[in-house]
Every structure is written in C-alpha cells, then in structure tokens.
C-alpha cells in the first residue's frame, strides 16, 4: 500500500430505485464468470482425451471394409461424446455451489443486489455455455476424423482400382462419400447436448441441498442409472402386474421424479443409418428442455429458503 494514500473518491448516496427485479446483464455476468472459472480450471483438457479416443479407435479399423470403418468411427465418437458431455455436465455443475458456499464467495455475491434465482440461472447458463462449446469442439473433431478417414479410404480405393472403368470407380467413390458425414447426425448430436443440459440442471438441484461435491456427484450418477430404468418402472407402475401399495408408490416415485433417459438415445438409431423424424427430434428436445426448466425451478425453491 502506498505511504500516503491518494484522496478517496467521494461516495454519493445510491439512487434508491435503480434495482431491476430481473436483469439479463447480471445473469450474463454470473454465467460468463462461471464459464471463465471452468475454463481456467482446465476442464477443457478432457477434449484431449476425446481426441485420443478418436485416434485410438483408428488402430482397430485396418481389417474392416469402409462401411464398417465409418460405422465404427461414428459409434465410438458419438458414444464418447455422449459420455463426455454427461460427465462434464455432472462434474462441472457439482462443484459450483458447494465451492461458493465453502469459500464464502456466495456471501459476497448474495450480499449484493442479486436475487437467488438470478444466481442459479447464471450458474446453469455458464455450464450450458461450457457444454455447448465442448459439444461443438467434439463435433468438429469428429467431422475432421471422419473426413480424414474418408480421404484415406478414397486414396486406398483409387490406388487399388487400376484398370477399373472410370464410371464404376466414380460409383464406388460416391458410395464412400455417402457413408461418412450426413446431416442426419446433427439431431443426434443436438440430443446429446440436450441430455447433458438436463443433467446439469438436475445436478444443480442436488447441489442445493447436498452437503458436499462428492455427495452431489454420487447422487447425480445414481440418477443417471435410475433414469435409464425409468421406462421399466413406469410400465410396471401403469400396468396391473404390481398390486402392493408400497411397490406401486415406489415405482410411481421413480416414474414421476426421474427423466426417462432411454428417450434420449436417438444416436443409436442415427448411427445405424435410420433417419429420425423431425417431430420425434422436436418432441425429445422439448422434453429435455422441460425437464431442465423443472429441475431449475425445484432448485430455486430449495435454494431460496436455504440458510447460508
């Protein structure tokens, strides 16, 4: 500190009525700060692992024909993308709220004119931005890997097709190109993102009452597995086979509280070459958005009454 402090700026009374009930600017400030936090925590390093998975999968492709090669690459890439975005959504969200409480940073934010719902929306938006960037980067890596593989296969085909009539060769090359990237993959990637967003919101809700980051991660992961069984629980609940009141209450609880994650597995169909109707895609995306909003709302009710 300097020996003789400079003259202090005059403090004028703040105008009493300048507070805005809902401020997108405040939410954006919290969201970008959350994104910066996750960025500087180097969470993007996991993208390197994704890239390694893509490179590693190439080692197994030598003995397959080109359709099988592209099929395998799509399977591995979209499967890895699905797991990585889900893991990222859980791990990144789980630490945000408990860490702010533990470090008392939350006190300094909520002691400012920031409503609690804006804080929660800002945090979630920050994670959603992170997931969006990650999904776009992974998609770009996937497309580059697919394009690279396509070029290799085309070069091999041309090399081994000496003497093949040009028209026949062109036909083969067209077949190769149509087996690589198609626009039908985009809805599949979009649903991977929607599923990760749903989990970010669910994890945020869990973190509002959880006592630690580890507990939040464990509960969130348990929800992931239960979510994949939700369809079975719902069928048993609605069916007449289960008659006992306690099992029925339990099944109803699972069916009502947890999302049916099987509905979000559109990627398998897309990779198998089946195109997804736009209506199904829109319904699945809307369902994911609805779950995300519901969990955020419940998170707000839990957080609004939380004693800090």
């Amino acid at each position: 500190m300097p020996a003789s402090p400079p003259p202090t700026p005059a403090i004028e009374p703040t105008p009493a009525s300048r507070h805005v009930f809902f401020s997108p600017a405040r939410i954006w400030a919290i969201a970008t700060n959350t994104l910066l936090e996750l960025f500087r925590l180097k969470v993007f390093y996991f993208l390197l692992i994704f890239a390694l998975v893509l490179i590693g999968s190439s080692a197994f492709m030598i003995e397959f024909n080109f359709q099988e090669q592209f099929q395998l690459l799509k399977d591995v890439s979209l499967g890895a993308m699905s797991i990585f975005t889900w893991l990222l959504s859980v791990l990144a969200t789980a630490m945000l709220l408990p860490k702010d409480i533990e470090d008392r940073t939350l006190y300094t934010i909520l002691a400012k004119p920031v409503p609690r719902f804006e804080y929660l929306i800002g945090k979630l938006l920050g994670v959603l931005l992170l997931l969006l960037i990650s999904t776009l980067v992974m998609s770009a890596l996937f497309v580059i890997a697919l394009w690279g593989r396509e070029q290799m296969v085309i070069a091999d085909t041309i090399r081994t097709s000496t003497g093949t009539p040009p028209a026949q060769l062109e036909e083969v090359l067209r077949g190769i190109r149509s087996s690589t990237f198609t626009f039908s993959l985009i809805p599949g990637i979009a649903i991977i993102y929607v599923k990760a967003a749903l989990f970010a919101s669910l994890t945020l809700f869990i973190s509002t009452f959880a006592s630690s980051t580890i507990f939040t991660i464990m509960v969130s992961m348990a929800c992931y597995f239960i979510g994949h069984l939700q369809g079975i629980a719902r069928d048993y609940w609605l069916g007449s086979a289960t008659t006992g009141p306690l099992p029925r209450i339990f099944l109803a609880l699972v069916a009502l509280v947890f999302p049916d994650l099987q509905l979000f597995n559109l990627v398998d169909d897309i990779v198998a070459g089946n195109s997804i109707p736009m209506v199904l895609f829109a319904k699945t995306a809307a369902l994911g958005g609805l779950y995300t909003c519901i969990y955020l709302l419940v998170a707000y009710f839990a957080f609004a009454s939380k004693e800090l």
């Binding site: 500190m1 009493a16 507070h19 008392r104 300094t108 909520l110 004119p113």
Partner: protein, 282 residues
C-alpha cells in the same frame, strides 16, 4: 431514518433429527445511525455473525425484523445500499484483482467506462494498482482483505458491513485498513464492524454493542461506556520536579488521591510501526 434498524430480532436454529434448538440471537433491538461506526462485539458464538447475516438477507429471522435505510433486509433492493466484507474472504481465485472488481461491478449494474473508472479508483484507494493483473490466488492475506474492501465499495454503498476486516493482516496493513474505515466515516458512510481487536474497535467506533449468548448485554456510546466517572487523567509535558511537587501538595490538601503516576507509554502497535518503517528506510 436509521442506517440499520433491528427490532426484537430472534433467530433459532433447529438441530436436525433432534428436538433441541439453538437460540443464536434473542430479542435483539438496536439502531445504527447514518454516518456512525458501530462495533458489534462478543465472544465466539455470541450471535454476531448471525445478526450480520440477517442484516444482509443471507439468513431469515425467526422473529422480529431488520431494516436498512428503511427497507426490509429481506428485500433484494435493500442490498443496493450495502457493501459486505466477510471474515477470511477467498473470492474467485482464478480472477485477477481487476477482473474481480469488474465482476462485482457488473452484478451491481455497472458497465462500460463507468465500471472501468470505478475499478481504477478503488484499486488506487486500496493500494493494489500494481497487482491489478495478478490472479487472486497469488495475493497475500492482507491483499485479499483489501480487494475485499474494494469489492464491498464497488457500487458506492451508504453502509459497509465488515466482519473482522483486519483478521490475519500484519500491523501495518491493519493500520491502513483502520485509516480507510476512518476515511469512510469522514465521507458519511455508515460502518457496522465486527472485530475481536478491541483496541482497534476502541480507536474507530462511535458506538458499540456487546452480545453474549445471543443477548445484547451492553450498548451505547463508546466514550460513555468506558470512561470512569470519578477519575481524571492529566498528561503533562515539560513539568519540572518543583511543579510536580506543588501539584502533589495541592492534591493532598484537597483530599484527592493519586492512584498512579508514570511515564506515558506508546502502544506496542505504534512502536512496531516506527521500528519497521525506520528499518525500511535504511
């Protein structure tokens, strides 16, 4: 209108899975007038932090009410007027000093040139201009405390709530924070201060309240509370032995009793600062 008005405040914390309850604050009432530096004192667990959190709207009262410049503390709007420095603040370590102030400014509705100007002023005020681009993870305890003070002031609040503002800070830093608080007072900012450093509280507070087990046991103007009514202190400079002998004679004639006579001593803090500042010059 009072800067802070606390009326019949009670806070009870239930213990989960038990029938017991902890009464953190019991029927507390006090007023802090605008421009005052008010010291809230008490041992650990006396209810100081709970009271502060209720004033800041972080905890809701079980009974009673708190108001900031006439507005209920539960209203988010009331926090327009408040700056808060928690005890041992960590802030976001991944931010630089300047980024941290920008973040707090933005959530208070500042932006653009006004935000940049205010950030520059505050970094200058707390003496951290040289460290503006350094991440908070590399800040010392004293520097964190000072950036904490700067973030508390970012939206030009009329009330500052400071929880142990000099905890863990070296004597020179502590003195500088004390001087800043006195500056705030000159500017008309009300300060609610919680501190265990009673000598510092004595130096800067106009009024104090002492909490014990959630109950306000004493409250009032500091000079009135600590003065001893039937004693008088006179400090002389340049008095010869003859003058002192005459004073003693007069005193014995009047029936007054001399309780102590000694050379005035400087404080350990002042002595420490003199020694460390002279060694810096050498």
């Amino acid at each position: 209108m009072s800067a802070i008005s606390i009326q019949n405040l009670t806070k009870v914390f239930p213990i989960p899975f038990r029938r017991e309850r902890i009464v953190a604050v019991r029927n507390l009432s006090l007023e802090v007038e605008p421009g005052q530096v008010y010291g809230l004192l008490g041992p650990n667990g006396s209810g100081k932090s709970t009271t502060m959190k209720i004033v800041l709207g972080l905890v809701s009262p079980s009974a009673g009410s708190t108001r900031i410049f006439g507005r209920d503390s539960k209203e988010v709007e009331s926090r327009e007027e408040v700056g808060f420095l928690p005890e041992n603040p960590y802030f976001y370590k991944f931010l630089t000093g300047e980024e941290a102030l920008h973040f707090y400014g933005k959530i208070c509705g500042l932006h653009g040139a006004k935000l940049r100007e205010r950030t520059g002023e505050l970094l200058n005020l707390v003496g951290l201009k040289h460290a503006r681009d350094r991440r908070l993870a590399g800040y010392s305890k004293g520097m964190l405390q000072r950036i904490g003070l700067a973030q508390a002031l970012i939206q030009q609040p009329r009330l500052l709530v400071l929880d142990e503002p000099t905890a863990g800070v070296d004597p020179a830093g502590s003195r500088e924070i004390r001087d800043l608080i006195l500056d705030f007072k000159k500017q008309g900012i009300t300060v609610l201060l919680c501190s265990h450093l009673l000598s510092q509280v004595q130096e800067i507070c106009d009024r104090i309240g002492i909490l014990h087990k959630g109950v306000l046991v004493r409250e009032g103007r500091l000079d009135e509370l600590i003065s001893i009514e039937n004693q008088t202190e006179i400090i002389l400079e340049g008095a010869s032995p003859e003058v002192l002998a005459r004073i003693h004679a007069m005193l014995s004639e009047s029936g007054a009793r001399v309780l102590a006579e000694r050379k005035p001593q400087t404080t350990l803090e002042r002595f420490f600062l003199e020694v460390t500042s002279s060694s810096k010059k050498n």
